[in-house]
Amino acid sequence: MSEVIKVYSTKDYALDNGTTGRIDPNEAISGHEGIISNSEGATLPYYIYNKYYYRIEANEPVSEFHIDWDEGEDNSPEKANIEIIKLDTPSFSTVTEHIFTEHKHFFPLIRVKSMDGFLSKWYTNDSSLNEYKALETELTAGQNEFSIVSEEEQSDLINSFLPSNLPPIGVLKADKKRIYNGIDNDAILSTYAYPLLYAYSTSTASTKPNVVFTIQDDDIKTRAAGKTGGGAIKKHTLAGTRIWNASSAWVSDDQTGDTCLSAVPTGNYRTIPPPEEWRLTVFEEIETDGGAASPANVYWHDGSGTGTGTDRYIDWFYNGSTDKYGNSKLRMFFCASGGSKSLGEKLPDANDGPSGYSTCQIQPSLSGGGEIQSDSILNDILVFFIAEHDAPNMEIPLTIQGGSITEDGDDHYMDIVHDAFGCTDTWAIGAGLQQTVSSNPMFTFTIQNDGCPILTQTEFAKKLLRVELSNAKNLADTDRVYIKVFDAATNLESYAATTDNTLAVLSNGNPIVDLSNESIVYLDGTESRTRASNRDISLYNFDDDKLYKVGAVQAADTDSVSDLISGTFSSTGSKELSYSFGNIGDTLDSDSRFYSTYRLPRLQVKDDFTSYVINEDSTYDTLTYSAIEHFAPSTYTAAGVYMPSNLESRGLLMYSNHNTVNTANWHDVSTRNLNDTQEIMGSASTGAEGTYVLNDSSNLTDHPKSHLLMVQTDKFDRVYFRMNNNNAAGGAMPDVAITAYYANGTTWFPLEIIDETQGLKTSGSIKFTTPHDWHKGNYTHIDDGSDWLGPVPAEDSGVDVSNLWTVANFPDGGYGLLISFTVKSTGTNHRNLKCMNVWPYNNPHSQLIEIMDSHHVSLNSIAIAQSISFGRNSKVISIEDKFGKSDVRKIGATGGTITFGGIDLGETDDHRKTMVGYQKNATPLFLDVSHKSGEITRFFGIVTQLSEDHPTGLMYPKWAVTMQISHILELSSTGAINSDKISIGGALVDDGKYLL
């Protein structure tokens, strides 16, 4: 008899009852045959949420087929999911369709109703994995007259179903999408062994304010004890004179060095010791030896090379390093007979010593009387090392400055001095010293000075919670103080550099930075979904787009529908992020504020699928990670990963730069795009153009020389550019003209775009409306393919587009987008541009976050000629009794506005125009108002209204503004900050703080 239930991909195939279109059963689980599942060599996929057609057969004409799909809570009549197929005329077979929505092993139960109206038993597979106890207690072997279930035991005629899983879907939400720059504690990389913070500024102010840090520290002792809990929250004050300006190199050493005094926590330093020195002492007995042939207490190498018998040698251990031969030990033999084995001929020989040893041999010099002197042996060793330690054959990993031989009474010794600073962790000597036959040591080897610096360690920084200037008037209003971090390393020998990561930025316009809500975005991935209803999301991985992975941000995974985000997947579905600007890579606008930049956090999730059962063919059921964007043209195909064809995705990212217009030099940057240390466009540094330079043009109106080609299998309407420019803040940037084109099937058609990268000055997106005639094709659909008439040819030099955007890689075509760049530099500042990666982000697993500069621009230089007016108000409720007495309760403080104005003098410093600019751009501003006591109130806010009055009679026009106040600071007459950020209506007492 043929199988009772068969699975087909279409109804026609099921009716035909042939082999075409049929999904054959296999032994997906060892010892359990008759399983319909994905299997090796099968061409038809078998997945949940796909409709298949099931042909059910009976051994006689029947009027009804009943099938319990095993999808209910159990198999009881009340909870089972039973389909009843009633036939118009009795038949041997029927075809029905079904869609599974759970990811598990289904064992259907089938019964029929005879033409006489009698129901058969339920028939099902006899697998031990089959459970139907809610319907009936498990059967014993053989048929049971009273049972309503019969297990088919012979040939697995009733198949079971094991549809493969579909991948989950990551959904990322953010509580807000615009934040101010704050404290980026991720800048303290987890790889740092001893991170210390410092303040860096190029300010030329004669007096700089102190910088007050509130940090959670950590210390070596805690780490040494195997604990990672971190230390205490403490406040540290860095003197203004210790703000580093890089005019002189960072000094790591001593109590007067920068590491001790300019890095926070302070007090960490090392003291430079004298060079490492070892003393090899030989005993007096040798001196009195009678002759070279048989010194009393020295037994010479017998030439056997076996290391036995009377061999005498010293073993030198290079701990941790190896020599030319890959050995970490040196066995030094002594040879009494001269001539045949001179010193120069007997350099370390990997073949002579025991495993792991290199060898050398020394023939001691003899005195005129043929005697060996102890100091002569020492001298021979010393001469050997000095002469040979860096010889090509030897390459002992120790640099020797020199040494001396001393004969001091009975003591004869040699001092070996390391010629570099620091302790030679690479060379420890002495463990292998052998004994004489009289069991007395022939040599002793003692350390005179280990060369190790003396470390004084207090704590290191674990998390910066708040940082502030002590004075908000010392600096110029355009100055910035960057709070940076460097890894001093456990031996405190490392240096700070201006390229170190930045945690926060301070200025007069933003003198207090803390972990406040307005600078933190709370990412939530818990809306992510699985497809199978019996699966849950188990792990989350957030890519925070900070370029701190120092390598791959995602990597290919041939078991998934896309790449995997690098790093550890965690069971925590949310994450807090904050970002900071830095002194490298960010650009200032004409108000000395950083242009707003963007970051694109992304999420990938994993469901809790491991392997439903012991599935030997689990490689055909592996889709457990959600999809993310990628540019792999042929990795994630149904054939490559084993997935339904509708989950296939292909992409291509190419970049062309040629200094001759209308000439291509294409690079495939699909792989570089995955690495946050490799630029896909631009120069790696300002020192050289580099391979991927954005070519300079004479005029901004010139034909573009640089082009980025993106191809995706799904439409997209926004592309995020992650820039990591090389410019110093305040440095000039080139002008960039950006144009875009889409493939409409015949040519590159111009595309209207919105550029939010400020011409590649910042990270951001380029957006457009999806063209209605965007053609899904390949490179041949641009003109005649081989000869694009667009802004750049498909092929010239480099990797030809015609080799990658092909039918082979994109059998169903792809949507092509070409973005072209014309760069007009001043000098070589086009080398400042560097783009690390690009991503389409019209998807639910990405969120574009805008980071705004929290620096406020000073209005103190604006000539004000009208009264400055403001009010301080509280929020109160007044509960009045019937006698008119009130209980007035303050329930909060209110914000407010400040108004002031000036005269339109129209001079070189056109203050009216400046204020209009601030109003138009909603520029954050601050204004100091001095009181009679000398104290100052600093108002921070945005101009929301500006009015101009043009009187008659040739009087000067006036202007007036209303500035909405965000917060204020109270300063002393000298500028010392006396308050926290408070509202104009008063301070809150229940505002959270890390350190009270």
Binding site: Y49, H98, S533, Y595, R718, K920
Partner: protein, 341 residues
């Protein structure tokens, strides 16, 4: 608009972006009702465009650019005026949830016996709705657990959405008897289409997706507190919960039960459901525009006893050139198990 403009809404109808002035509202009413967009465009000539059944995408762009539209739907009505044109769009469920949409008749001969709810939706929408274009995405469809079978379900011509929502009431996760969790239907956009799916309520003990306080997001609030039922009678059984400090409040239970014990078990669940959410909160907020229905929101109000975690049950957003107003309703839907039986 300047760089510092905080909110930059975009409306795209078909492939055309509407750059004219506009105002309107988006309503996410919850309780399985379709989301809708009402928008007034300050251009009377816009009425001349072909609008009916056109796809509408609305990006709120609140703070930064949205990766996916906050709302995706299809224009169902147009109201031209002398100075403007108003449109009303409803999400993809408009094709399955009204008398004018496609309907299904389930009989002994033509039925979906053996199908679960998700399988039914998948099959029906694939074969009958998404025939030439994806109107209702299915890429995020996830079934209920426990699954609900359509076996023996027979209906006269009915919108399929009505069939599904009625059957959905049977899907209750009672693995924790004291915290029964129900399902609702939501639409989730993946950038290409808006996908229908079943969403299980989250436990109130789950990590909140959003924390709101007066200093962080709450503009104002109000709430209703109701005294939950503490005893119930039905099916020949009864149950009294606790000592009734808020007074004795009863709940009748209807349904078919196998025996008194089964009735009593259901009564206990219903009474405990009553205790689950007793505060129905309305919040006016400045944060949370993108939060999904069913998400957990932590309300931090030290001096009020509505502080703690709550579920988002509906959301509405009004937008205009003057700004954006967000209203969240938490726990607005008192759950009665009787609605699900």
């Amino acid at each position: 608009m300047t760089e510092n403009t905080y909110y930059k809404p975009r409306l795209v109808i078909g492939n055309q972006e509407i750059s004219l002035g506009m105002s309107g509202s988006i309503n996410f009413p919850g309780s399985n009702q379709a989301n809708s967009l009402k928008c007034t465009i300050t251009d009377p000539e816009f009425q001349n465009s072909r609008l009916f059944n056109k796809e509408v995408k609305f990006y709120l762009n609140y703070g930064s650019d949205d990766g996916v539209p906050l709302f995706r739907g299809f224009i169902k009505s147009v109201s031209p005026q002398d100075t403007s044109t108003s449109i009303n769009a409803i999400d993809g469920r408009t094709f399955v949830n009204s008398q004018s949409s496609k309907m299904v008749e389930l009989t002994d001969d033509e039925n979906y016996d053996g199908y679960t709810l998700a399988a039914f939706l998948y099959d029906y929408i694939t074969d009958n709705i998404n025939t030439n274009k994806t109107y209702i995405g299915l890429n995020m469809l996830k079934d209920t657990n426990p699954s609900v079978s359509l076996s023996e379900t027979r209906v006269t011509p009915t919108p399929i959405y009505s069939v599904v929502t009625k059957k959905l009431k049977e899907a209750i996760d009672t693995s924790d008897v004291e915290n029964p969790l129900t399902y609702f239907i939501d639409m989730i956009d993946d950038g290409n289409s808006s996908n229908i799916t079943f969403v299980k309520e989250k436990l109130l003990t789950d990590s909140p997706s959003l924390s709101l306080s007066f200093s962080h997001g709450i503009k104002s609030y109000k709430y209703n507190r109701r005294a939950p039922a503490n005893f119930a009678v039905g099916g020949g059984a009864s149950f009294t919960y606790g000592n009734s400090p808020q007074g004795s409040i009863g709940l009748p239970i209807k349904g078919k039960f196998k025996d008194k014990n089964e009735a009593r078990q259901e009564i206990i669940k219903q009474v405990l459901l009553q205790y689950r959410e007793t505060d129905e909160i309305d919040l006016q907020c400045t944060r949370g525009h993108y939060i999904a229905l069913g998400s957990i929101v932590e309300v931090v109000l030290d001096k009020e006893d509505i502080g703690g975690n709550h579920r988002v049950t509906s959301k509405s957003i009004k937008f205009s050139s003057g700004g954006v107003n967000l209203s969240l309703k938490l726990n607005k839907k008192p759950l009665l198990l009787s609605e699900y039986i």
